[in-house]
Subunit: 143 residues, 3 copies
């Protein structure tokens, strides 16, 4: 008898540039397909404090124009944040956007497929001031 | 011996109108009661990109006045968002609000009951520009 | 043979003052260490509607200056919110901030350790208008 592992923890890497919004839906779906789990939840987690995870309809108007505009409106990219004095860097706005949008997101899957809407994708937002190689954690729990 | 299913995936439907904020606490609690699970987490998920899920004290001041005001302040309802050019629709603000508030929410339950505060309800926010029939996913994992 | 409990539900208490941002990473990690679980997810939940949970790099610039500034910018602390008329209190801004930042957060753990980044801490935000004794729920699910 083969026993099913109820928890599968995976890390995948993405290379980002400043301001990138990356569709990571395929990476998460691929981890489900590589596992023996068919039903459960996928927790997608950014182990860092200048990234964030959410869902959108991944189309150029939102990705290239509207979301950058909204992020600039909500958290001023040009303010000299107190955070800058702590470390001498300039990514305070990125830290605050990550705090607001948050670094964790949970999606149910069923019959081996993420239960997303047809026009709904999982995105990673690079909010830091420089290119990064990012580890994204996907942890599956289920049956 | 009957074995307990550790994952229960359910979908319930709600009919919404533009701007609706719907208390879905009872729907989620009912799915726990219909299941054989007593302890675990309920993941409440909107499979779409113009809805959102959070918690509030569900009282008319917040529901009818304050949250609509805040959503209008955070994301301009009258801007001609770039998203509109992609599809010729006008729900860009709804997409951006869904991105910000997010489409997933996780609540622990114990002894068959959601572990919410006394004055805390789970809400679905209809952020689209028209009435919708919405599928809301509730997935329970536990024991 | 001792069977492993797949769900562990714990509550810890914190004493807060108005505006407190509390690093609760150690409390969550301690619950993992006290459990028999090594891999899974920790759901951190505030059972109330005037608190919130997220992650940040816990340093004084962000904690003492930048996050309070951003919260004041996003949700006006001085507006006479409709919520105040319902109860005769003055914590409408706190309710709206809790709705926006949200009361739930999920972090994966592996080999008995939270999979946070080096400079990433889990925070509880006291958004109410008075000091509180807060119950914070940590529920672990895994193996």
């Amino acid at each position: 008898m083969v026993s099913t592992m109820p928890v599968v923890t995976k890390i995948f890497l993405i290379q980002t540039k400043v301001g990138d919004i990356v569709d990571i839906t395929g990476d998460v779906q691929a981890e489900i397909e590589r596992s023996s789990l068919r039903n459960g939840i996928a927790t997608i987690f950014c182990p860092g404090s200048t990234g964030a995870i959410s869902t959108i309809e991944f189309e150029p108007g939102l990705v290239k124009t509207d979301i950058p505009f909204v992020l600039d409106q909500l958290i001023d990219p040009n303010r000299d944040w107190a955070h800058h004095k702590t470390w001498g860097d300039h990514n305070g706005a990125g830290h605050l956007r990550s705090f607001l949008i948050k670094t964790s997101f949970t999606v149910p899957f069923s019959h081996g497929k993420l239960m997303l809407g047809t026009w709904q994708q999982i995105i990673f937002l690079e909010l830091d001031e420089k290119s990064r190689q990012r580890e994204i954690i996907v942890q599956l729990i289920g049956e």
